[in-house]
Structures are given as structure tokens and as C-alpha cells.
């Protein structure tokens, strides 16, 4: 049984824009999949369709072998957005505990789990702070802790580090890999960044715009577990080039950089 199975998914928005056309993608349990593509390629829309936050016009999505709607109702996935989306009236601990509260966990069990999660994202001691007291990177770690708090099999991430500076982003990339290895969950990760996609993923799904399609799927064979050193591996650059070329081929109106890069 695949973690995510996307079959013939299309999406037309009101007004006739075709955001996605005939998407096919099978994701195995434990994979780390990046969706990369230029603005307007529908990668965020696809992520939301997997999470049943948007309904596809055609086609079908299964998560853990059940329809996406049922998976959402069963709390089968956690989601992280570009903005941390913390509830500013709740403390860090209470933000992390929110999905647990909604799932009916009792207080002591919630507290124990929140402590675990704070440790996982290295925010021990910040539980009683309010979101405005944290930096952007720390807030995003809280959002990740919240998404993982109920142990979902699937983690959906929509450009979670897009608004952060390069240094913080690279640090959080490495941390995310550590968390992914520890939790064993499947990750679907939307990004604009080629380096981020290659560094994190087991496979990179390159998408092209107007209409949004999957133009190539590139397996990343960098050794696991990856450390920051992987960013300087020659293979890393080869893969980054491959992704870059696929991106430029995908957008027909852009001149190919193939010769320039090779």
C-alpha cells in the first residue's frame, strides 16, 4: 500500500484556469518527495488536494490506502505552511498540543508528548512563551512540532522555509532530515529551491506550468543519512544541474540553459 497515490488528478479553477492536468504520482511509505516548479505550476494546489483541503476536478487521491477525505478525518497527515500559522493567543506548548486536544488526548498524555516534541525540535524551555516572542525559524519549528505531535504517517509541507534566510534554512533542512529519519514518516515537500529539493529528497518531482504537469521525476541517490557535507558532494551538483535543466525544459517559453550549465 502506497503512502500517497495520485491518479489522473486535474484541477480547473473557476474562470477556467487549468491549475493541474492529469497528475500521476505514487509515493511509497518513508519517502521524502519534493515538488518543485515555477510559480503557477500548481505544486501547492497539488499538496492541498492530497490533504483534501482542495477538491480535484477529476481524478482521485488515496492516502494510506483510503480516500483523501477519510485520511483527513482520521488525522493521517500533519501539515506545515510557509507561514508558521501559530495561534498567537496560545503558548508554544498549547500550539503543539492543539491537534492532540482535538483528538481527545487527556492532559497528562498531552503534556508528556509536548515535552517530547519540544525536545525533538530543540525548543526545550520555550513551552510557556507566546509565538510573538520567537524568531521566524523558531516559530516554524513549533509548526513542525505541532504537525508531528500526533505521529501522522504523512507530513505535508508547503514551502515551510521559504520565508527564512539562507543560513536558517540550511540549518532547518538538516534538522528536518534528522526528524524525518527519527519519525519514519513520509514527507511531501513543496519548494522553490533546487538546493533544498536535492538535499532533502529521495525523489524530486519537477513540475511545469500552464497547465501544471509533472515533467520529470528525478531520484536522488545521495547517501543517507545526509549531513551538511552532502551539499558539497560533486553528485549533489550533478543532481542540482539535472533538476535545473528539467525545470527549464519544462517551461517552454524560457531559453534552455543546458549548454551553459553542462
Amino acid at each position: 500500500m502506497n503512502a500517497v497515490s495520485i491518479k489522473g488528478v486535474s484541477k480547473q479553477f473557476k474562470g477556467g484556469t487549468t491549475a493541474l492536468e492529469d497528475i500521476e504520482l505514487e509515493i511509497e511509505p518513508g519517502e521524502f518527495i519534493s515538488l518543485i516548479g515555477p510559480s503557477g505550476c500548481g505544486k501547492s494546489t497539488l499538496l492541498r488536494i492530497v490533504g483534501d483541503l482542495i477538491e480535484p476536478s477529476n481524478g482521485e487521491v488515496q492516502v494510506n490506502g483510503k480516500p483523501a477525505r477519510q485520511a483527513r478525518r482520521d488525522h493521517d497527515y500533519g501539515i506545515v505552511f510557509q507561514d508558521a500559522v501559530l495561534y498567537e493567543w496560545r503558548t508554544v506548548s498549547k500550539n503543539i498540543a492543539l491537534p492532540l486536544e482535538l483528538a481527545g488526548w487527556d492532559r497528562s498524555r498531552r503534556q508528556a508528548r509536548v515535552e517530547e516534541m519540544l525536545e525533538l525540535v530543540e525548543l526545550q524551555g520555550f513551552g510557556e512563551h507566546h509565538p510573538w516572542q520567537l524568531s521566524g525559524g523558531m516559530q516554524q519549528r513549533v509548526a513542525i512540532a505541532r504537525a508531528l505531535s500526533f505521529d501522522p504517517a504523512l507530513l505535508l509541507m508547503d514551502e515551510p522555509f521559504g520565508a527564512l534566510d539562507e543560513m536558517t534554512r540550511e540549518r532547518l533542512n538538516a534538522e528536518l532530515l534528522r526528524i524525518w529519519e527519527a519519525s519514519g514518516s513520509t514527507v511531501v515537500f513543496v519548494t522553490h529551491s533546487i538546493a533544498e529539493a536535492v538535499f532533502l529528497s529521495t525523489r524530486v518531482v519537477v513540475m511545469s506550468p500552464r497547465p501544471g504537469r509533472v515533467s520529470r521525476v528525478i531520484p536522488v541517490d545521495l547517501p543517507q543519512p545526509r549531513t551538511q557535507a552532502a551539499r558539497e558532494d560533486p553528485r549533489f551538483f550533478e543532481l542540482a544541474t539535472e533538476v535545473r535543466e528539467a525545470l527549464h525544459l519544462g517551461s517552454a517559453d524560457a531559453p534552455s540553459l543546458a549548454e551553459g550549465v553542462a
Binding site: 483527513r72 501539515i79 500559522v85 512563551h129 538538516a174
Partner: protein, 277 residues
């Protein structure tokens, strides 16, 4: 990863004093200004022989205040009850109406323009009319005008608050597959709270104004408004001023009580220190 702990402001903690937000040291300049103001007032009235119907000296007002204390506080209490009753009724109605409007857009589309317009008209002008509708000797007549005054700012602000939720916060709730009622309780209400309290502070002031002005037009004889009006026409200006002082004390107390409640209910908010905010 090295989680370099960044400097963060200390948590807002502590008792009522911290909640009100100022220490004795911070209050000192304001107290000095008050003392200087009253002193100057006294001096000018004496030196310039200002007529007592124009402006009595603070000492004369104090004499009237202390010799009529029992009566004054009684009047103040009656008026305050009207203001408080009107505040409770008007604010509750405003909140309920806001919830309906925020929930059903159609209702909002039909009502909001009028509510915003009504918020801008001087409702106090209706005071003589409501006194014709209700017996002005009862508290009800004055409560009604206070309630109507409180209704609109609360209604308009709470609608705005309930609608100003961030779409992403709703989307996240959808990912948890929770119902509308839960979203309302966990997201909309907390988002609206600062808006609500802003309007409650305004309403606390309006309620006192409403009750007193409405009493000018024939309130019972044991109310502040009726007595200010009567004493002024009977040339008892010191006593009228003493009644105004009572009205000020109650009005400020009411406002501060609401402000304190706000601090307690919205403790998560970053504290921006503003004098009189």
C-alpha cells in the same frame, strides 16, 4: 542543530499592579500634574474673583462634596446601576448580533451599512424620546439609552473581529477535520477578543454618558443627571460640580475595570505601553 537561545522578552507575569502596567514611580509625574492643576485652578479663581456660577474653587467643591457625601454616593450608585445595566444589555445584544452577522453573510450584507451609519449618528439625541417611551422615573428609560449607545460600537467591532481571522488559521483547522463550532470557539472568538475589548472600553464611557444625559430630561430625583441639572438651575453650583466629580470617579473606575478585564483576557498580547491606552 544548535538552538542558540535568542533574547526574548520576559513573560508577562505578576499581579494586578503589573497588569495595570505602571509602577508608583511611573505614576508620580501624572500625580504632580494633577496637584499643580488643582492648585492653579484654586489660585486663579481666588485671584481673579471668578463668579461661582462660572467656576467654583476646588475647595468650595470639596466642601459641597464632603457635606453631601451620603446623598452624592447614593445618586452616583443609582446612575451607575443604570449605566451598568445598559452596558450589559447593549454589549450582549451587540455581541449576539455580531455573531449572527458574521455567520450569515447575507444578514451582514443587509444590515452592516445601517449599523455603520447608526454608529456614526449621535444617538444621545434620542434621549428625550426614549423618556417619552418609558417612564423616566424608572431606571429602565435610562438603561435603554445607555444600551442603544453601547450596542453599535460593540456590534461593528465584533463583526470586524470575527471576520479578521487569517485564512491559513482556518485552513489548518480544516486539516484537523473539525466543525464550524470548534473553529468559532478556537479561532474566531480569540481573534475577535481584542476588537471586543476596544469596543467595550468605548461602551463603558458611552454608558455613563447615556445614563446621565438621559437623566437630564426628567430622571428620578435620586439620580446624578437630574441633580446636576437641578442644582445648576438652583444656583447650587458647588454641589453640581461635586456631582460631576462623582460622575468622573465612577466613569474612570468603570473604564479601568474594563481595561483590567481586557488585560486579564488577552494576556497573550505583546504589551505596548501607551499612556491612557
Amino acid at each position: 542543530m544548535s538552538a542558540a537561545p535568542m533574547p526574548v522578552a520576559p513573560l508577562p507575569r505578576g499581579g494586578v499592579a503589573t497588569l495595570v502596567g505602571r509602577q508608583g514611580r511611573d505614576w508620580a509625574p501624572a500625580v504632580v500634574v494633577l496637584v499643580a492643576f488643582v492648585g492653579l485652578w484654586e489660585e486663579i479663581v481666588r485671584a481673579a474673583h471668578v463668579q461661582r456660577f462660572l467656576l467654583p474653587a476646588p475647595t468650595a467643591i470639596w466642601t459641597a462634596f464632603s457635606s453631601n457625601q451620603g446623598q452624592l454616593w447614593h445618586e452616583g450608585w443609582v446612575t451607575f446601576q443604570e449605566a451598568l445595566g445598559g452596558f450589559a444589555i447593549g454589549c450582549t445584544a451587540g455581541m449576539l448580533a455580531a455573531v449572527l452577522v458574521a455567520r450569515w453573510d447575507l444578514v451582514g450584507g443587509a444590515l452592516m451599512p445601517y449599523a455603520i451609519a447608526a454608529n456614526a449618528i449621535p444617538i444621545i439625541a434620542f434621549a428625550p424620546i426614549t423618556n417619552a417611551w418609558f417612564n423616566p422615573l424608572t431606571k429602565t428609560a435610562h438603561m435603554v439609552i445607555a444600551a442603544v449607545l453601547c450596542f453599535f460600537p460593540v456590534f461593528v467591532n465584533v463583526v470586524r473581529g470575527l471576520r479578521s481571522v487569517r485564512p491559513a488559521q482556518i485552513e489548518l483547522m480544516r486539516s484537523y477535520a473539525v466543525g464550524e463550532l470548534t473553529v468559532f470557539r478556537l479561532v474566531r472568538v480569540p481573534t475577535a477578543l481584542p476588537f471586543l475589548f476596544t469596543s467595550l472600553r468605548v461602551a463603558s464611557v458611552l454608558a455613563m454618558i447615556g445614563a446621565i444625559v438621559s437623566e437630564y430630561y426628567g430622571g428620578a430625583l435620586d439620580t446624578l443627571g437630574a441633580n446636576i441639572e437641578q442644582d445648576a438651575s438652583l444656583f447650587q453650583f458647588e454641589k453640581a460640580w461635586a456631582e460631576i466629580v462623582i460622575a468622573c470617579i465612577l466613569g474612570i473606575g468603570f473604564y479601568l475595570a474594563v481595561a483590567l478585564l481586557e488585560r486579564l483576557a488577552t494576556r497573550w498580547q505583546p504589551r505596548i505601553e501607551m499612556v491612557g491606552a
